[in-house]
């Protein structure tokens, strides 16, 4: 059982995640993609905007899938206990420069714990990040699962463009936007 507790290496995790693409095709000819669920939730909550007026019930499989993700997160994180992340010492030094301790477990508690979330600045930081993710994912018609994994697997050109966008945006964010926002948080 030791392997279950330790960090799964990339050459196990990657292929398992890649197998989601054929698995969802075999289950019902579905395209593996997670951010669509956000749109289905808005549609299910009864938005009357044209963008949300479609047959979301026909996409119910996607909602079942994300419910499953949360369930899997519960089993892996709560039952087994979250793994301790071992970071590159260079990254640790950079984190200290940002004012974040590199050893607070799976996630920096300074950003994700209840006490962080209940501070207005902490709440706003996560809300802004989430907003950009939701907005960008719909504009690009997909997120990392739909484009970087499914779309690239199927050799689809738009997905390559979107994936380049994801990485460029992330680089800019981690280099400049994040330090700037964290300084403002404190």
């Amino acid at each position: 059982m030791e392997w279950l507790i330790q960090t799964w290496p990339w050459y196990v995790a990657g292929p398992v995640i890649g197998l989601m693409v054929p698995l969802l095709l075999l289950l019902g000819n579905r395209r593996f993609g997670i951010s669509s669920s956000l749109r289905h939730i808005c549609a299910a909550m009864g938005s009357r905007l044209p963008f949300f007026r479609y047959d979301w019930r026909a996409e119910g499989w996607n909602l079942a899938f994300v419910l499953g993700i949360a369930l899997g997160g519960f089993m892996a994180g709560v039952w087994l206990g979250l793994p301790e992340v071992n970071l590159n010492p260079k990254t640790q030094a950079a984190l200290e420069g940002l004012g974040l301790p590199p050893d607070s477990g799976f996630l920096p508690q300074e950003l994700f714990s209840w006490s962080a979330v209940l501070r207005p600045e902490g709440f706003l930081f996560l809300l802004i990040g989430g907003f950009l993710i939701g907005f960008g994912a719909r504009w690009a018609a997909g997120c990392t699962s739909g484009h970087a994994i499914t779309g690239l697997s199927a050799l689809q050109w738009p997905s390559l463009v979107a994936t380049v966008g994801f990485f460029l945006g992330g680089l800019v964010s981690a280099r400049w936007l994040l330090p700037w926002l964290l300084a403002w948080l404190r």
Binding site: I34, C143, S145, P158
Partner: protein
Amino acid sequence: MALPIPDEFKPETSSRPISLGAYLPYLLAGAFFGFVAIRSEIASWYRIYEMFRFESFHMYGVIGSAVLTGAFSLWLLRRLGVRASGGEPLAVRPSEPGRYRYLLGGLVFGLGWGLVGACPGPIYALLGSGHAGALVILLGALLGTYVYGLVQRRLPH
């Protein structure tokens, strides 16, 4: 007059009821994905930060081998001529045509990804493992999705 934006989903129809049991395989597949996302640490903010600083191979290895596995299995399914239960050939639905949306939307998504270190899959996995922060990210993501729906026609696609 904005160009009509092509859409991936069918308009409202009178959908027939689907039995709950039909959702079970998807629930299980999702649970498997969420489990891996936590155990392989791809749902960790630290791992994403490390990736964007090019200081670890882990995330690149995960994404790269996932794409290779996906591509190989698609090739194999096509080669074997596997069909869906309805008889149609298995195929990944193509993306809608678009000139600007993939790069611009991708950039916006990336900005958020670099901040909160979680893409939509990991957001749900973190929610399940009881992280308060994931709740706020999900709220923000729903808000962003809604606002996109609001201003969609004014954006270049």
